[in-house]
Structure formats: structure tokens, C-alpha cells
């Protein structure tokens, strides 16, 4: 069930991000919607399951975007590893403030990985003057909505999990 849920969420988020969000008149560019999901995988799912979907999403996004192959994969992998590392040190699963901070940090980290890759691998290309503004707006959006998305993922998953458990129990009776 978890795998089906994850696949459905991945698909919905990718479609939203490439078709619906670009057509909305939002102030500035919205952040990568998959980051809250990666954070959710890091916080709430086992390593093996999380890693599988991190690789799957990284592969899909690398192919849909014009980025060099591996950039999204890199971002998601290190974000996932970072969140797993934090959960080893801190008990953060239920604290909304900390979750919000983690999602916003994830957005910032992804942008920094992208910008670092530009700086390292193509230093001859100049960065647009509004790079700072793009990152700042994305972090602001993440602060406002990141935790909400993460809570929606968690609640939907537990609701579906409970539903399926009840269904199996009824069938076995």
C-alpha cells in the first residue's frame, strides 16, 4: 500500500509541478514540490523504501528538466540523507516548527546545490542578477506551505493505512 501511495503522490506532484503551477499567477517561482515529499520520506519511511523513491523521483525530474543528468538525483539523495541524519540526532517528527524549518532548509539546500553546480561546472556562464530573489521567494513559499504539504502526506498515508488494515481485518474475519 505504501508503495502505491508513494507512486501516486510522486505522479501527482510531478504533474502539478510541470503543468499546473507554471500556469498560476504566483508571485515568483514556486519551490520544488517534491522536497516536502523527500523530507516526508526521510522522516517517516524506512531507508530502503525512501531511497527507492528518491532515486525514482531524481531520475524522472532529471529527464523532465533541462538540468545536467544527476543534478536532481544528487539534490534529493543528499536531502534524504540529511533528513535521516537529523532524525538520528533529534526527535522532530511531530514538531511543526521544526518540520517547517527542515522543508525550508531543504529548498535552500537544493538551490545551493544547483547554484554550486553552475559555479563549479560552468563558471564561464554568468548567473542572472535575480538569482538571490528566486531563492528567497522559494524559501518564503516553503516556509508558508511546506509543513502543510508534509502533514497532508502523513495524514493521508495513515488514513489509507488504517482503511486498508480495517479492510484486511474484515476480509480475514
Amino acid at each position: 500500500m505504501s508503495y502505491c501511495f508513494n507512486i501516486a503522490i510522486c505522479l501527482i506532484l510531478v504533474i502539478l509541478q510541470t503543468t499546473v503551477i507554471p500556469n498560476l499567477s504566483l508571485p515568483g517561482r514556486f519551490y520544488d514540490l517534491l522536497i516536502p515529499f523527500i523530507v516526508y520520506l526521510g522522516l517517516s519511511r524506512p531507508v530502503r523504501e525512501g531511497l527507492l523513491f528518491v532515486c525514482f523521483l531524481g531520475f524522472i525530474m532529471d529527464n523532465l528538466s533541462g538540468s545536467p543528468f544527476g543534478l536532481y538525483l544528487t539534490s534529493y539523495f543528499w536531502l534524504f540523507s540529511g533528513v535521516k541524519g537529523i532524525t538520528q540526532l533529534l526527535q522532530v517528527r511531530k514538531r511543526v516548527f521544526v518540520i517547517t524549518f527542515i522543508v525550508a532548509s531543504g529548498v535552500l539546500a537544493e538551490n545551493l546545490i544547483f547554484l554550486s553546480s553552475f559555479a563549479i561546472f560552468s563558471p564561464e556562464q554568468q548567473l542572472g542578477g535575480d538569482a538571490f530573489k528566486i531563492v528567497a521567494v522559494q524559501v518564503m513559499w516553503a516556509l508558508l506551505t511546506g509543513a502543510v504539504l508534509l502533514i497532508i502526506f502523513r495524514k493521508t498515508h495513515s488514513w489509507l493505512d488504517a482503511g486498508f488494515r480495517a479492510l484486511y481485518a474484515r476480509q480475514s474475519d
Partner: protein
């Protein structure tokens, strides 16, 4: 022999090194592994479905509200149509005269390429790259490297093709480059994207005359885009005392925020004027 902590640290360092090497290799140029088509084929049908649904809903919404003003607009449009017919007639005369003059001078016709119309069904998920997914692919005759144009000017280049969908890199993308000319002074340079809504015209020598408002067109020398297609206009010219080149900012004619349909040029004719009859 080694502690667990030591193995973990070495492992992370090796992982980072491998990661950087792989990224450096893939950043040198746009690389493909053949698996990209699977991802595009997997996601694009859903993108197409959602895009069509959104446009359909949007159309109904607009039509409902526009119904009130349609009668008045109809009258205005009829008047404009009559005027346009007159103008069109003049243009046809000019076109015929132009064709005769072209034949006389032995120039090749620059607008005879075969094009395929395609619909934009998805946009790049990243703010740092500018690509779109279109609903035409190998089955429609598309291949990598084909130029993508709009009536307003150049839009980009096909960089990935699956059976029924393709990925197009827009001229705004930081990896895009188009050989270009300033139409008025014939100053040559390379249009490079910045992943913002503007481009730069690089390598224009300071001895060349470039002014704000000048139109920039494709030179055809890059072997990708047909010669003479409009790209944009000069928005800003910045002079640096220590530099031998102008710093030229270009605003594209194509509004990439409202990109819905594009034309893919299937066969680009070479425009080497020296090889003309």
C-alpha cells in the same frame, strides 16, 4: 582494523567524490542514456491530459464571461477585417515583387522549410532551466537538434525525442546558444540564455555599432536555425572600458510565459549566400 565511524567517513567522502565526477561529466554537455525516453513517455501522457483539461475548463470560463462583449467585439472585428483585407492585398503585391527580386538576385527563399505544429504540454520543473515538453515526437518526424520557432521568432531547439513527445530547450536556457546578427549593423554575436526572461548577445566587438532597440536575427551560421529569423531586440548596451566586447542584453520577441503552440522546422535549408546560383 578500522572503526565503524572511520569507514562511514571514508564512505561519505568516496560518495561525494563519485557524485562530483558524475556531475562534472554530465555538465560538460547534454548527455543522454536512452532511458530518458521512458521517463518522458511515462509522465507526458498525464501532463497532456491535465493541460488539455485546464485549457478546456479555462475556455469554458472565458467564453461564459466573454459572451456579453462578443456582439460589440464582432462589429469592431468586422471593421478590422475589412481593413486587414486591404492591407493583406498590399502585402501580397509586395510579396510578389519581393519574389521576383529574389529570383533576379539569385537568393534562396528563406521561408520554405517544412514545419510541424506542436502543443506545449509541460514546462521545466526547475527555476534554473528553461525547457518545455511538446506533444510531437519521432513518429511525427522530429529528431534531436531541430529548431523550434514561433511566428514572433526563435523559440528553441529539440534536445530529446521519444515516440510521441519531445523536450525543447528554449533560447532562455543557460545552455542555449544561437549565432546571431544585429539586423541594422550586421554585427555578429552569440545569443546565450541566462535562465531569466532575457538573453545576452556575447562576443560583439566594441567597434561594431549596436544600439538599444536594434532587432537581432539568426545568422544561420550555427547550422541549427534558419537565417534571418527574428530573436529579440536590444534592451541594454553596457560598455566596459577594459573589455573588447559590448555587453548586450536582449529581450526576446517570443513571450515564453505564454508559450502554448510552437512550430518545429523539420528540414533546415542552408543559407550560404556564396553557394547561391
Amino acid at each position: 582494523m578500522f572503526s565503524r565511524k572511520m569507514v562511514l567517513i571514508v564512505g561519505v567522502i568516496v560518495l561525494i567524490a563519485v557524485n562530483i565526477i558524475v556531475l562534472s561529466v554530465s555538465s560538460k554537455r547534454y548527455t543522454t542514456f536512452g532511458l530518458e525516453r521512458i521517463a518522458i513517455s511515462f509522465i507526458s501522457p498525464f501532463q497532456e491530459l491535465v493541460t488539455h483539461t485546464m485549457r478546456f475548463t479555462g475556455d469554458i470560463w472565458r467564453q461564459y464571461f466573454y459572451l456579453v462583449t462578443v456582439t460589440r467585439q464582432n462589429q469592431v472585428l468586422r471593421t478590422q477585417l475589412n481593413q486587414a483585407i486591404g492591407v493583406n492585398n498590399q502585402w501580397q503585391e509586395t510579396e510578389l515583387a519581393n519574389a521576383r527580386l529574389r529570383n533576379l538576385l539569385g537568393f534562396q527563399n528563406t521561408i520554405s522549410e517544412i514545419v510541424v505544429a506542436a502543443e506545449v504540454i509541460g514546462k521545466d520543473p526547475s527555476a534554473w532551466f528553461k525547457t518545455v515538453i511538446i506533444d510531437k515526437g519521432r513518429a511525427d518526424g522530429l529528431t534531436r537538434g531541430l529548431p523550434v520557432v514561433m511566428p514572433q521568432g526563435i523559440a528553441g531547439q529539440v534536445i530529446e525525442v521519444s515516440n510521441h513527445y519531445s523536450k525543447v530547450m528554449l533560447i532562455l536556457d543557460r545552455n542555449s546558444a544561437v549565432d546571431a546578427l544585429v539586423q541594422r549593423s550586421r554585427a555578429r554575436g552569440v545569443i546565450k540564455g541566462e535562465s531569466t526572461d532575457r538573453c545576452r548577445l556575447d562576443f560583439v566587438l566594441r567597434k561594431n555599432d549596436v544600439r538599444v532597440g536594434d532587432t537581432v536575427v539568426s545568422s544561420g551560421l550555427d547550422g541549427v536555425y534558419p537565417k534571418g529569423l527574428r530573436i529579440g531586440f536590444v534592451a541594454e548596451v553596457i560598455e566596459h572600458d577594459a573589455d573588447i566586447f559590448h555587453e548586450v542584453i536582449i529581450t526576446p520577441f517570443v513571450d515564453f510565459e505564454k508559450l502554448e503552440e510552437v512550430l518545429v522546422v523539420l528540414e533546415v535549408q542552408k543559407h550560404d549566400m556564396a553557394s547561391g546560383p
